[in-house]
Symmetry: D2
Subunit: 290 residues, 4 copies
């Protein structure tokens, strides 16, 4: 470490071309990439510090990144950082903010007046209450109900915004009080900065089919940007996390029994698995029709 170590910052031309341009999300939201630090190489570089002199043979970046992802060596992925400007409805922001290991600066409705911009769902998103999954929407509602619902939502938005403006402009009420009558579908915005490891965790939970549609569409855009940013990492993440599966001890035993053709053992294991878990397992392994 004596002579010349000068380095330059890594650039990703594809990302640089995107910087600042809004990706449209929902009806009035967006994601804008503001800045980033690091790359697939930065992950490899950090991992190599850990492995030090012992890593002569781990000399292929793709293989090393896949190894790290497969074996839950998460710290090298924390060496990359990314920052976004996001415009999103408050009810989405409320789910989003539960990812605690990130940095946020949100627009303050105490300091400033909120714009008259509300999320109004497209008809395709007007799903019925799901019968079994209490947190989900099911099939799309009948077409004749769409217009009725949407006009109720729009009327609700207009009325509450009118009340908001009246309290501020006519009554002189403090903004921090007046805003409490606004619904959670009004848009807010924030700067959001997070490291790659935590961002992948965010994507794995929010790109999931169980996540609410309105946050899932944000996660989809984030995933696209991550793929451009760190393509090797995103590939490994897709293979090992997004596209992979977890088996329980019983699930694993069942798979092994079936692979051996040991039907007695298989039947015995099934006894030990709850109906709900068994259904999930059969769907996972395409065993339903057998």
């Amino acid at each position: 470490m004596t002579d010349e170590f000068h380095i330059t910052r890594e650039h990703n031309a594809e990302l640089d071309a995107l910087l600042g341009n809004p990706f449209k999300v929902l009806d009035k939201g967006f994601i804008r990439l503001i800045d980033y630090m690091g790359s697939d190489s930065a992950i490899v570089q950090a991992a190599r510090v850990s492995y030090g002199k012992g890593t002569k043979r781990l000399n292929e970046d793709r293989g090393l990144i896949r190894y790290l992802m497969r074996h839950r060596h998460t710290t090298p992925f924390e060496m990359c950082e990314i920052k976004f400007h996001v415009k999103l409805p408050i009810f989405v922001a409320r789910q989003w903010v539960r990812h605690r290991t990130a940095n946020i600066n949100e627009y303050s409705a105490r300091y400033s007046v909120l714009d008259n911009e509300f999320y109004v769902p497209e008809p395709a998103q007007l799903g019925v209450q799901h019968q079994h999954k209490k947190q989900a929407r099911g099939a799309q509602l009948e077409t004749q109900k769409h217009d009725e619902i949407i006009s109720v939502i729009e009327k609700n938005n207009e009325d509450s915004y009118k009340n908001y403006e009246w309290m501020i402009d006519e009554m002189g009420l403090a903004r921090e009080v007046a805003r409490t009558s606004l619904p959670v579908n009004i848009y807010t915005q924030w700067y959001w900065k997070i490291n790659l490891h935590n961002l992948l965790h965010f994507i794995s939970l929010r790109k999931d089919p169980h996540a609410q549609y309105e946050i899932r569409v944000y996660a989809d855009i984030l995933a696209d940007i991550v793929q451009k940013w760190v393509p090797l990492t995103y590939e490994a993440f897709s293979d090992y996390v997004l596209g992979g599966a977890k088996l329980s001890a019983n699930g694993l035993a069942l798979v092994k029994a079936r692979l051996r053709g040991d039907t007695a053992q298989e039947a015995m294991i099934k006894e030990k698995i709850s109906a709900g878990e068994l259904r999930e397992l059969e769907q996972l392994l395409d065993l339903e029709n057998e």
Copy 2:
């Protein structure tokens, strides 16, 4: 560490008597103490592990706790943990959740229907928009405006809840969509668990006069409970944090100059301080009228 080390859990009779009982906050909210771990003694015990054999003379609990607080030795205060059940309006929850180093389980409006319970301010809280402090409310509004504003707020609450019920009951719309039209003054609830160090930080920021009234009243209750829980710590916290003050380098130099009666030096320092900071400093030191 060889023979008998048996200990029992510490109890605080005063806290035990409070367990589960709701402290009323705002018009329909509450704080309920659910569980706690540790005490002033647990803080001292943890600090003594750090100081080991070197602490013969730090043998008085109160003095040690004050020393820890004064010198920012924060880790012993992390050794105490407390858990609450809180009912609060969503706009308060949105400020509260920004304290990231805590554990939360919130009522889910995807799973369940929200109750028809909204925060409606008392007339005393209907302040005008503050002219200089953009995030604050100023003097109370004229009495004749109170009823008008409150009926607009109540009407807004009723209408949005009626729409919400109609979308769920009449239209069969999924709860996770229907709830997006509800205003941020509707009540939610959560379990909230935090360590003492982070709770004191929460209190120092949210009991502050600059905090919004509607979260300040929660912080006041939390402070009362902390005082019963760890009285020595709360006393030190009151002296060194809540009741204390921070001086900038210039503020400190100005105080010293004035204490020495060096008016030339004092004038010179004032040149270097911005008008805003100087005003804050004069208020702090009661120098305005001199």
Copy 3:
């Protein structure tokens, strides 16, 4: 929420009997349980707040806990907290402290003199350097080398402690400088507090066969205590995490192809899996001998 809500703190008689008693670990280390908050019921209680009115049918604790564990609903597990007093060698402490979401108060060798207590491995732990796994030890060394190695280690400990004492007692050197010559096998101690979710993560990584033996034995004790503390949670954790397995997208496709008996598809998938991952997969599924 109007009348009487009084509750009492939950107790676990089995844990209470353990409080303070040292569990011996390694040659001179220990784990002592100091305090705990919560139980399986506290987890269920917190989850029920989230599910609110929608949870009529999730009325069986064991089933709910398994559902939470299976679906990565981690926040209810954060509602339990536990505190230990641990004595451990510095090199173990250096691995342990990398679990950042915990609270620590460590004995300070700046304040106090460290005791003359060093970890000396048992012969069974004197493994050769593993050839393939660079971070691991392999088979036990030949018996004739044991005594030689152990006496070198003991001599090294004695010499460095003698130097340490001499610098402090004879030379009057500050402790914070003198201690820098002590080896990382000297024992330190700390109070360590962590929530259940993070503790389970700690156990899953440190009870793993890839973890270094000297931290694994601590994780084993912690796991035993957790099992007594929250038996339903520990059972679910054993089934879904410790005893379970992760399949990659390719691993899952391979399992499906084989279950269908589609050997052509199976061969095609194998092409896409690296040699290292394929070996891990075959071991997992007991496919080696086929």
Copy 4:
């Protein structure tokens, strides 16, 4: 948010010139700047999102940054991130790692052989044990003791490294066991990434005269780099944190009484302050000689 938002990444020419070059610290350590994200402008930009339309008058960057620092609005400072490669003795690493909100990849002595490089203090650092401050060193030791101590330290280093090499090379012992005999003054290295807010906190604690000399010299270099990176922020940090002071409630009351010349009140307040705190206060305000 309608037409063209393209932006480019911010650069800091002064920092770019430093990238990769080692700053020498202690006898064999270094700090190398690897990458950074953000600038004073990025802080202002994030704060402006929060203040939204309400900030017409907060239009001067320096004033806004000072306001944020003075009023503990810490989140905008989290919007900047920086990454270093650091070589440091293990006993320094042990203090450093206690700052939990950072990302680390450390050289692993399980994977790789550690180099024969140990920290040996300069004579100026051979201080006597401080009599009152148990964690500190006092005046320099007598010159005749220097050579003696340093040769004991160097002998200790050589012996332990010889033992280490012998266990690995001659005995074939696993590295993860052999390294446990190495002293905590051996050098390790890591990549360390942290946001600006947490870095300033690190500097405020570790640049403090109470911090151990061997970590303070690292904090000094970090402070110099921060000053080049975000000069307005560093200026505000110097004025409000490094050069400022905290007064307790009693301390503040005493200052006010003295400014008013109310000696009776002053005497009464002094009664309530402990001897230790009074001494600290008198030093702070240069009151000793009065």
